[in-house]
């Protein structure tokens, strides 16, 4: 089924029920449906048609949720982009998937316009939400106008094997790759996960995860599918305020990543059972350390904790049943419903339990490939059991215990996982190497109690006066927030292997771990 149909059907069935709470605004199912209908018509007028792409370059505002469904209703695929993305990278994405439109917000409109110029994509429409004062930036189509127009979405004729979403993920080559997901992929993934979590129509899910991150995005897709309520917040910077919101809204579900539970661990005086309505907590990106599990258990005694694992290329693939979490705290569990996973050796054949191999995923949630990149697609998607199917080689090394429960071991490549997001060292190195005062740089991850891994860099400076602060500032101006190195070490030369290749592994072994 096409994903927007879950919205239209629930609007018909549950019209007056709250679908979304974000930034002080509450939208019912009927309102979310009507607003996305109008915006779909507006996007169609702006040139968006069946098979096109629409970038959603926004933070967790209600307009972002409306825009996602509007793009689908216009027959297009949406592509959510992290709002801290800088113009050059956005220009790369624009050049890569040639979107017909970008929907953004006033403070990001300048970045979108700059990216359009850099990518020579003059035909791309820029639609912008209003600034807090009510004004829309000049040169952009005002989103409020499109939301007020009395218009119906076009009959685009799309079906569920059409592309629904393009979501960019870090690639080891340093260039992001657009993961192609059809409506059917998203339908399968959201069906599997909501079934696993025993989600219900009366669930109230509170999410602080960005909609540009597929774990955050799926909170919206799953909530709309269920006819449940999603409370969207922009950040977990103030955990106490988030727990108050959860209490006010009667939250039943709370998705988190280990960086968030590390912040909960640092809270000082939160009373246990502060959110008695909470039924479940989900975790993904990396297994929760036992200390986090114990703290979450104490604070939320009624909530089941689901430790999950997945990657953008298949959304989600394993989950640890909540009753196993004490017995196997480091495990990310077993395959989710309607999915199969295997640990295979170099020869592609399953390895015995206990041995390390690459995780392979099979099922209807596996992506269709990377946009415009058949080589990278062929690397990840390889022939499966049947002549018509492809299975996903994740690039993640795992081992299974005697009962088949899976444990993450490491990445096959150098990708760093920080704050639940993937970062390609090459992408950060390219930015460092572009600085006129830097001769060479190597980027790697160091274990960090809050971030999972923190990004660190070793730099050979051309300019002896160059400071760590200047280097970090340069990175912050050119990279998304989560990619900016936390520490810079100056060296006269970079660590090299015997064959003279700069080595990220040796660099990582050469630095002091974070406190």
């Amino acid at each position: 089924m096409r994903m927007e149909r879950f919205l239209t059907e629930n609007a018909r069935r549950l019209g007056g029920k709250t679908a979304l709470v974000a930034g002080g605004r509450r939208l019912t199912y009927a309102e979310l449906d009507a607003l996305s209908d109008r915006l779909a018509a507006g996007l169609a007028d702006a040139g968006v048609g069946r098979g096109d792409r629409v970038l959603i370059f926004m933070d967790n505002c209600w307009e972002a949720a409306v825009s996602i469904f509007a793009a689908l209703k216009a027959g297009a695929a949406f592509s959510p982009v992290n709002p801290s993305t800088k113009a050059e990278k956005l220009a790369y994405i624009v050049g890569n998937c040639r979107p017909a439109a970008v929907v953004t917000q006033a403070r990001l409109c300048g970045v979108a316009a700059q990216a359009r110029t850099l990518a020579k994509a003059e035909a791309m429409a820029i639609v912008s939400a209003a600034a807090p004062g009510g004004a829309c930036p000049a040169g952009a189509i005002p989103l409020p106008d499109l939301l007020e127009a009395d218009a119906s979405p076009p009959a685009h004729g799309g079906i569920d094997v059409d592309l629904g979403m393009l979501i960019y993920t870090s690639g080891s080559t340093g260039r992001p790759k657009g993961v192609m997901m059809t409506h059917r992929n998203m339908d399968a993934a959201s069906e599997s996960i909501t079934g696993l979590l025993e989600n219900r129509e009366d669930d109230v899910i509170l999410s602080v995860l960005p909609l540009s991150f597929n774990y955050g995005l799926y909170q919206l897709l799953m909530s709309v599918r269920l006819g449940a309520t999603l409370v969207l917040e922009k950040s977990f910077a103030f955990p106490q305020a988030i727990f108050e919101r959860m209490r006010e809204e009667g939250a039943t579900g709370f998705p988190l990543v280990p960086t968030m539970s590390a912040m909960v661990l640092q809270m000082r005086d939160l009373a246990p059972d502060h959110v008695p309505s909470l039924r479940y907590i989900t975790n993904t990106a990396a297994a929760l350390p036992p200390t986090h599990i114990a703290q979450l258990r104490e604070l939320f005694p009624r909530a089941r904790i689901y430790s999950m694992y997945g990657l953008t290329e298949c959304k989600r693939c394993t989950c640890l049943p909540p009753e196993e979490i004490e017995r196997r705290p480091g495990s990310v569990g077993i395959a989710i419903p309607n999915t199969e996973v295997f640990v295979v050796g170099e020869d592609g054949l399953p390895v015995p339990r206990g041995e390390v191999g690459e995780l392979v995923v099979r099922g209807p949630l596996v992506m269709q490939g990377y946009w415009g990149n058949p080589e990278a697609s062929a690397q990840m998607l390889r022939p499966g059991f049947n002549p018509w199917e492809k299975v996903l080689y994740t690039g993640d090394l795992f081992r299974a215990d005697a009962d088949g429960f899976l444990y993450f071991v490491s990445r096959k490549d150098d990708i760093i996982k920080t704050r639940g997001e993937k970062v390609a060292p090459k992408e950060v190195e390219a930015v460092l190497q572009a600085h006129p005062g830097i001769a060479d740089a190597v980027v790697f991850g160091v274990p960090d109690p809050v971030l999972g891994h923190a990004i660190a860099a070793m730099v050979v400076a051309l300019d002896p006066a160059l400071t760590e602060r200047e280097v970090v500032r340069h990175c912050a101006a050119n990279l998304e927030d989560f990619m900016v190195p936390r520490s810079i070490e100056f060296r006269t030369e970079l660590p090299k292997t015997d064959t003279g290749k700069v080595s990220r592994r040796l660099a990582a072994e050469n630095v002091e771990p974070a406190e």
Partner: protein
């Protein structure tokens, strides 16, 4: 009093979150979170700074946007706490 506190906090924000780039310093009433100046680990750093610099012990219930999301709010919070401690 509040202005000195605010200058102090602005100095911290510029130094630690903007890596010394004073041109990017936020306006006094501008949200540090919504404008991407401070992230979640930044809040922890800000709390440590306030506690150390102004000798205030902060409870979880103090670490909320109403107290910490703009330079104005931080200055008002610190001023109120230091005044009540002195009284």
């Amino acid at each position: 009093m509040t202005d000195t506190i605010k200058d102090n906090v602005r100095g911290f924000v510029v130094e630690n979150f903007l890596f010394g780039d004073a041109a990017q310093a936020p306006a006094d009433a501008e949200s540090l979170i919504e404008n991407g100046i401070m992230d979640s680990t930044g809040v922890l750093e800000l709390v440590a700074f306030i506690e150390e610099r102004f000798g205030i012990a902060m409870a979880d219930s103090d670490i909320v946007p109403a107290n910490l999301d703009t330079l104005d709010r931080i200055a008002a919070f610190v001023a109120a706490r230091t005044a009540s401690a002195a009284a």
